[in-house]
Amino acid sequence: MSNDTSPVVGIGLRSKHFRTFDALRPALPFVEVHAENHLAGGEMRRFLHDVRKDYEISVHCVGISVGSVTLDENHIKRIRCLIDEIDPFLVSDHLSISQLGAVYTNDLLPLPYTEESLRLVCSHVDEVQILLGREILIENPSRYISYAHSTISEGEFLDALARRTGCGLLCDVNNIFVTARNERRDPIEALMAFPHTHVRQFHLAGHDTVTLDGGRVCIDTHDRAVCQEVWDLFGAACERTRGVPTLIEWDNNLPELEVLLDEAAKASAHQRYAASRSLHAAAR
């Protein structure tokens, strides 16, 4: 859906905005929906079909849980039904655990980065791609905890995962920032360690910073505008990976739709600037 220089920026479409979105029909190349919000029938499903007539759709999942000991095959089959109906151009989920035994956490818990985890996640991603009949993208999580017995860096883990399974990567720039800050690392170094050749999509979102036990912690809240530091990081990411679809994610404390569209315009400007710099560099 893109050449290397056109901005490709979409927004996450949530039910609060359905009516306004329907009225405005904004000029966007794509919108993204959470699969788990649209597995029911009724209006949620009908609206998605209606949007699909005019927009490309990216399907973002939160419940496949590739880091779990076992996969919920029934859930993946329900996602397959949705995908078959709306033919999205991207399907993604996270490098995380959301299913612990029979319990779903409605959260994205990080997993230890070990050889055992890597084998398990690779096997699960293979299985998911077979069940869905297509490539999926795996997103780097926001992390507040790190396991003492991890032996592989997140970048190495994601790189090995993409190479072994053929999956793509969804690079959440805000998550890189949040995790790096929580690990007292430089976000730019963390971005440079991200295996950018496998990146098929960027996510951008807002986060909060709070004080806990006297230490500062960034929390991935998706409830506010993207901060300047994350925009700067996104600018650097665009220079490494051009023309990749980029999404403005805003899930909580949702503002008017126009605010999301303004954020999308900012992301487009960053993509345009990165593209022009690379053209200049090529011309020299």
């Binding site: 959260d107 818990l109 396991y147 007292r184 806990l212 912690v217």
Partner: protein, 252 residues
Amino acid sequence: MPLLAEVHAALRHALVFGETLPLGLLVASCPEAETQFDIHRNHFFQSLTGALEKTFPAIVSLVDQRFFSYCAHEFIQEHPPRTPCLFEYGESFPEFVAQFPPCRHLPYLGDVAQLEWNIHAVFHAVDGSGVDVLNIVRPGLPADIRLMESSFPVHRIWQAALEHESSGVDVSHSTAKLVIYRDDGDSTMQQLGDCAFEFLRAVAAGAGPLVALGKASHIDPSYSLGREIPEVVMCRLYGTHSNAQHGNHHVH
């Protein structure tokens, strides 16, 4: 080095039951590892409480926000989600609040919660099939039509609670026989008379229209097919029209 399965078990106990994580599992830093994990604990309870608040707004109004949060916390610990879809979470909440000791002075609470779950389930029901959001087959009635009977006027209590006027409802002098259904994408309900309710109850149990009509006629021999039943419901059942539609409430 702990195996992944051991890590999962530790996370489940720490997240749902508030147990301490095994010493040394996480990298210690500032803030301490347990405090960092509290971010996940808080998200787990807050996001699920938020989902329950959205599904059961009348219960929030009837018991107040703080008590609802306490009740939800107890419910989440006892009944954590078994599905990744939030819209499927809370089916057993009505039974939970009905049995919840601190709510015993509100004997209608479980039925009001059941009404709210029915409204929610009908709104999200899979189109054109005989299964509900949890894939349970419901012989007779499509998933977007539900029946409910209560010894309390739950529809009036529900409406008054949403309008924050619950003190105005006399809970002891009437009952409710309701059909909850989807009309133009929205959940709607209608109070039914005895015959109409008996008719639909028979249909829900798998009876054909003539057998169901016979059941309704036991109550009133003059009852005619479709009387007092919403037109949309009759259309969904048989593709026909009834001639009466009144007293229904759109709820979303």
